[in-house]
């Protein structure tokens, strides 16, 4: 792998930037792999990278129907945080945030992590009481979380409507200082490049169309570019999880729905932190380019159409204007949606499937970008050892039989 550094930048500038290598190869599909990862989003690419790096897998393929990161990985609003409520989630998401903090160095790729904080706004006495409890739970789980007064909110978010007569008056907030944003494409590309350097074959524009299963055990994968012999399969396809599960003959507790977001024209810097407002149902941050990045709730019915409907967009915009009346004349530049995998308790599924040798990572729904490193790490561990790591054992499919849910709507209201 060509090392990226100030020195390499200078050296390549002198040679008119003709010396840069491709970030990853474009190999032909082989007929046999030790493990096949389905889905070239962040989670799939991270899985392949950790299989190669942590578990010595030398012959791994990532099979992606479209292009790298063209699913939710390239469509999300890039918020990272770990202020979840339950101990299992706290451990998992904090591990993920730790990996994020070291990712640019580890992958030698700038993922532009900006830990300028994640501010959750509180709008009522009820919000205050619930958050007092949540913040204590977070502290007990070792998650950083600070109580913020209305004055401090006004300081963190200039322009915000602090009027007591507001429809949703701001009575306080909580701040996770380690929260923030990262470059979503960078995360996919970083894992792709580092995985490729360890021998991972990344096959793009190649949909998986079926599985060969013998006596309940996976023995092969059918793809648009040919057949693969393999005994180990990891599925990380987010909104398409049920489609892949059906190919393998089982069902999942997953609904696929559209989640949308939009960005404004670029502005001069307004605020650094990402801001969430559960009561108005929206969240907003400002990108490095200056655009306001805004999102809200799901389009609340099943959809595989990668577009969002106009009434949800109106909700998002009206929530933003409620909080920041000063933004009312700003132009919207783009709006889009991704198909997310919603489960009943808003927690992921990472582990075994009913098919032997086949493992799955799904159910991250509206909030799995922040979990990209941990989701890949635990899926790789589970595949390599044929048993879950302590960190993901409670996130198994089994909980939909036992009822041991980890119901995470709690910690921050909207789950991005």
């Amino acid at each position: 792998m060509q090392k990226y550094s100030t020195l390499s930048l200078v050296r390549n500038a002198i040679s008119h930037h003709n010396g840069w290598q491709k970030a990853w190869r474009n190999p032909d599909l082989k007929s046999e792999y030790d493990a096949v990862v389905v889905g070239g989003g962040g989670h799939g690419l991270a899985t392949a990278y950790y299989l190669a790096k942590e578990h010595g897998y030398k012959n791994v393929a990532v099979i992606e129907a479209g292009w790298l990161g063209g699913g939710n990985t390239g469509r999300n609003t890039t918020i990272v945080r770990s202020n979840y409520l339950f101990p299992q989630s706290a451990k998992f998401y904090n591990f993920s945030l730790n990996l994020y903090e070291n990712m640019s160095q580890e992958l030698d790729f700038n993922i532009m992590l900006r830990q300028a904080g994640l501010l959750t706004l509180l709008h009522s006495r009820h919000d205050l009481e619930v958050m007092r409890r949540n913040i204590n739970a977070m502290h007990m789980n070792g998650i950083d979380s600070d109580w913020v007064t209305p004055d401090e909110v006004a300081h963190i978010a200039p322009g915000i409507n602090m009027s007591e007569d507001a429809r949703f008056p701001i009575v306080g907030g909580i701040l996770q200082k380690r929260g923030g944003v990262a470059r979503h494409d960078g995360v996919a590309w970083g894992y792709a490049r580092a995985g490729d350097a360890l021998g991972v074959d990344i096959i793009q524009m190649c949909a998986v169309t079926g599985f060969d299963i013998k006596n309940g055990e996976v023995v092969g994968v059918q793809t648009a570019k040919g057949h693969i012999k393999t005994k180990k399969v990891a599925i990380a396809v987010a909104g398409h999880s049920s489609v892949l599960a059906e190919m393998a003959g089982f069902r999942l507790p997953v609904s696929s729905m559209a989640l949308q977001a939009c960005v404004s024209e670029p502005l001069k810097p307004v605020f650094d932190a990402a801001i969430m407002s559960p009561a108005t149902g929206i969240y907003i941050s400002q990108s490095d380019k200056g655009e306001l990045v805004m999102g809200g709730a799901l389009d609340a019915y099943p959809s595989y159409a990668q577009r969002g409907n106009i009434n949800t967009l109106e909700h998002i915009i009206s929530g933003v204007i409620e909080l920041f009346p000063c933004f009312s004349r700003i132009k919207l530049m783009r709006q889009w949606a991704g198909i997310v995998d919603i489960v009943h308790d808003s927690s992921p599924i990472i582990g075994h499937t009913p098919v032997k040798g086949m493992y799955i990572n799904c159910g991250f729904g509206t909030g799995g970008f922040k979990a990209t490193p941990a989701g890949g790490w635990t899926l790789a561990y589970t595949l390599a050892n044929d048993r879950p790591h302590k960190m993901n054992e409670d996130f198994s499919l089994k909980r939909f039989e036992t009822g041991a849910f980890i119901d995470e709507m709690g910690a921050a209201g909207i789950a991005h």
């Binding site: 398409h240 049920s242 489609v243 059906e246 069902r251 999942l252 507790p253 997953v254 609904s255 696929s256 609340a300 019915y301 099943p302 959809s303 595989y304 159409a305 409907n309 106009i310 009434n311 009943h344 939909f400 039989e401 036992t402 009822g403």
Partner: protein, 98 residues
């Protein structure tokens, strides 16, 4: 954005309706004898079809009544709208049924 024709009120914007889960699920009839796995299947496991899917909807900001929609989840095309109690086969108008 979909326009949905409530069988009782007529055409309205999708904003007036709520999606209420898949249609034609059968609740296991002998609750006490059903295994946890079967209950889990009934309660949580979904077909989550990419394509044509029978769904329950409620005209919650209108007459408040429930009905079924046969809808393509890939295109949002509505193929058929039929009342509770009417079978999906009849609505689909074909032989292969649900």
């Amino acid at each position: 954005m979909m326009t949905i024709k409530c069988p009782y009120c007529g055409e309205r914007s999708e904003a007036e309706y709520n999606f209420g889960g898949p249609a034609h699920l059968e609740r296991p009839s002998h609750a006490a004898e059903v295994s946890d796995k079967e209950w889990g299947n009934y309660l949580f496991m979904l077909d989550n079809v990419k394509g044509i899917s029978p769904e329950r909807w409620c005209h919650s900001h209108g007459c408040g009544r429930w009905f079924n929609i046969l809808r393509n989840t890939e295109t949002h095309e509505i193929l058929s709208i039929y009342k509770m109690g009417e079978g999906v086969k009849a609505a689909r108008g074909d032989k292969d049924g649900a």
